[in-house]
Amino acid sequence: MSAPSESVGRRVPRLESREKVEGRAQYIADLYRPGMLHGAILQSPFPHARIRGYDLAEALAMPGVHAVVTGDDFAEPNRMGAFIKDEHALAKDKVRYVGEPVAAVAADTEAIARAAAQAIRVDYQELPALLSPEEALASPVHIHEGVEQYFKVFDAGSQGNLCSRTEFTEGDIERGFLESDLVFENHFETQAQAHVALEPCGALAEVDPQGRLTIWSANQSVFRVQACVAEALGIPMTRIRCLTPRIGGAFGNKMEPHVQPIAAALALKAKRPVKMILSREEDFEMVRARHPFRIRIRTGVKRDGTFVAREVEVLLDCGAFADDSPGVLGFGLLCARGPYRFPHVRCHGRLVYTNKLRFGAYRGFGNPQVSLAGESQIDDIAEKLGMDPIELRLKNILRGDDRPLGGQILTSNGLRECVERVRDASGWGKGAPSPAAPGKKRALGFALCGHISGLLASGAIVRILEDGTVVLNVGANDIGQGSDTVLSQICADALKIPLENVAFVSPDTDGSPYNWGTTASRVTFMTGRAVVGAAAEAEKQLKQQASEMLECAVEDLELVAGGAVAVKGVPEKKIGFFEIAKRSHWFAGGPIIGSHSWVYDNPTVDPKRAAAIGLPFPRIGAYSFSAIVVDVEVDEVTGAAQVKRAWSACDVGRAINPLLVEGQIEGGVVQGIGFALIEEMVWDGARLANPTLMDYKIPTTREAPYELYPIIVESRDAQGPFGAKGVGEVGLVPVPAAIGNAVKRATGVRLFKLPFSAERILRGMLGTQQ
């Protein structure tokens, strides 16, 4: 590196901070279009029923109603689904969960729309409801009667109520257990967690004068919205334009469609713009949630602590539609071995349809669930072997040339540093931890994980304007994590220009290069690298212009700080971007446009090392790592656990913006605390019992530890832009296991079911487990 970095590595406040603190940021609910109508949804009261017919007369007759749509407005072949195309935008022929959208109304006001929706009569014929994976597997009743005919993007093995199945094997698992000195087997269970982004889902659809649909929505990918609306409505993508306002938080819930296709259908029918914003209750009931997992984990080790074999079997509740579930199954199984050397591995599982809300992408994507199992069990193994739990792990973690499951090559590995830094910062093993207050028990707990950032495709376009400033155009949504800022920093440093000289373009399917989405901790890594590539292309063109202007060879030129090209070693011989831009626009060469796109193409599974059946993700991404120590206090009277302090180290490759990286670590840890201790979606029979913020609780300021120390580890990944990898999810993943381990060390109680509510801990302490 010639010049010191101006932007990369700096704690730059979010570029859009001022508009957010002044209340001027426009989220989907804040948008208004002339002539706009309001949409409302009628939800299914039954978990499983055939739709015999509709009576729309009363609804259509209501003053102020402009359009009504039902499943009849969506043709049969037009189904959406990220992996398995099993879903219509509105229930068609059948309802499959309580709360499922069945019909929708566009009217002058929201109140009229809601009243009209309630006036729609639907003739249902109830079917048996299948409310658990076990029940669904055992039943001759099929939730998706056509599942074997649905289009699938991978070999899912769908049959009956089995949505998909996946298996990874490496080595010889039976031999592995025979060679082990000790074998441990445990069962774990995790619960459905709701995303609870502060902003409920919503969309605004409008038909423009050319008859094209324009759709704004709370979303994690304008391209997914475009594709899904195209699929759901059976119209070409050229007729759909998707844009994004500011997004009020998203943790996987806004990655796949919610009401966008419904709003679009209403807008087409009413011939007026239609805005539809879900209530908080509807957001709980009809979007998506984190998969409940049932996990059986079996680990074989040598007496000296060497890991030999691991088998993990999982059973996932899919809910009524596949959505991202096959990916969660597959990714969860890939992560289930943990970032360890295991010569013999078998990870397998099934995903089963049930008559409940669809489960889908949620920060961690299956890894928090399997890490709970693996990291809890390892602590118990350490105890049995008489080894320190961190030492046992350090003995077995992936090093240097080691490969995670499947055989992907690690291009960077800061895991050991993560472990050592939290161990040292927390004072692990050094005398007594903070003494427990009277009536409390207290202990530290540890866990680690690997996660990935990457997947699929991203592109970037860098343009030099007439005045020499730069426009950066990527298709990546900033969902609050700060990617607009980070990508601008990357662009600024790649071109050695001040950050203020970069204009960032809001994602627009009409004008932006494709970006799969803001998910999978991928934007800094994938889109960032596309930005570096696009900047490099722009640099080439800048240098070409400059070589002609300075009459020298291109190889003799370099970018210099401030936005100029100079002769190497002769800084006075330089030309600014402005001069070059003038020449390019008015004289020769044409305006400078640099672009780059790529798709992650390192295969996940090396067929010489591992076998895979039902692999939903053939090529994933770069590995990130995290280790966490939590200091947990348990109340002896109530059993309530509280995280008093936490040290979370994340290997992010390179922190383009340490302030924003800390924000991701802190936010992830606290969301993980919610998952571990407090949160649970509860079903009362077929209906969700707690779809409100009165009844479903997330951590407040008083449940989040103030002494939360984010530790940034930088392993400089060669694949990443300036060495960066992702951080969005990895901070959350090991949290539940670390807390479980702390509770075990404080109370002697090992819990196997999330959340670790006060009730469960107390019962454990009293020996009266349910």
């Binding site: 109530t638 309530a640 609780k697 997330i698 407040t700 107390l762 019962r763």
Partner: protein, 284 residues
């Protein structure tokens, strides 16, 4: 006119409105009522706002000790009321743990008490404090002991056309009043709460303990109070917990199972009692 918002300036005027408009709803802080309106569980055509009635806003010291708390007194003011010392601190502590600071700015004791959600913090505190609820009716005012005011789930001794006008606290006795609340997170309704007052009478103590969150109304058992008074032994404490546990009628809900709530009763009672006793200087 039978619809709209009415702003009486006296209790008598408010009662007259309620008599004339039987479907009208009273609104004090508004928090619970408006939440119900937003959830489409209520759609009143007429509202009677109590905001303009002076006597309802005062927290007045009563002659001979004690206090008369107007129904419109806000949680925030009760939470900060430094005059609620000794045993009356139980009410101050309960008010301070309701929801969060913004909601405490809005909610009132009269509105909360009339709503009678068993998860609320006031009911057990008022029972432990031996408070009484002043009810205003067309025929006059009457006072009902807190223990008799809360009748069932969301049901009080209020008859149609009546309103809560005040809460009366007896004179503070030198001693301890405390309110312990266990909830899933800060601001949630209590899973279980214990409201306890403990007074030293020479070498003996006099205790009142009420349990919240464990049935349709706050739970107090006279025999348990007796066991916790005088010079109680550890066995007394255990028996008192058992009695309260046996008398409880908790439900299973997302805040806790009925069985867990029963488990918590003696444990939380013991913690509250031991703390109160220690602070009163009356530990064994």
């Amino acid at each position: 006119m039978d619809t709209g918002l009415f702003r009486p300036e006296s209790v008598a005027e408010a009662l007259a409105l309620l008599a004339r408009l039987p479907d009208a709803k009273l609104i004090s802080g508004g928090a619970s009522l408006v939440a119900m309106i937003n959830a489409r569980l209520a759609d009143p055509a007429a509202l009677v706002s109590l905001a303009g009635i002076g006597e309802l806003k005062q927290i007045a010291a009563a002659p001979g000790g004690g206090f008369r708390i107007g129904a419109m007194a806000r949680h925030r003011d009760l939470a900060a009321e430094s005059r609620f010392s000794g045993t009356l601190a139980v009410l101050q502590m309960a008010a301070a743990q309701i929801a969060n600071s913004t909601v405490r700015n809005m909610g009132t004791i009269g509105g909360a008490v009339a709503h009678a959600d068993p998860g609320l913090d006031y009911p057990p505190a008022l029972v432990a404090a031996d408070a009484s609820i002043e009810i205003a009716a067309a025929g006059g005012r009457r006072q009902v002991p807190a223990g008799e005011f809360f009748v069932d789930w969301f049901t009080t001794a209020l008859q149609p056309g009546e309103m809560v006008s005040a809460v009366h606290l007896p004179a503070a006795r030198p001693g301890i009043g405390l309110y312990h609340k266990f909830a899933r997170v800060s601001g949630d309704y209590a899973t279980v709460s214990v409201a306890l007052t403990l007074v030293r009478e020479g070498r003996a103590i006099s205790t009142r303990a009420a349990i919240g969150g464990c049935g349709p109304t706050p739970l107090m058992v006279a025999e348990a109070n007796r066991l916790l008074s005088g010079d109680p032994t550890a066995e007394n404490l255990r028996r008192a917990g058992e009695l309260l546990q046996a008398a409880a009628d908790p439900v299973d809900d997302v805040r806790g199972s009925a069985e867990y709530r029963r488990m918590l009763i003696p444990r939380m009672l013991a913690r509250a009692f031991d703390e109160a006793r220690l602070r009163a200087g009356a530990a064994r």
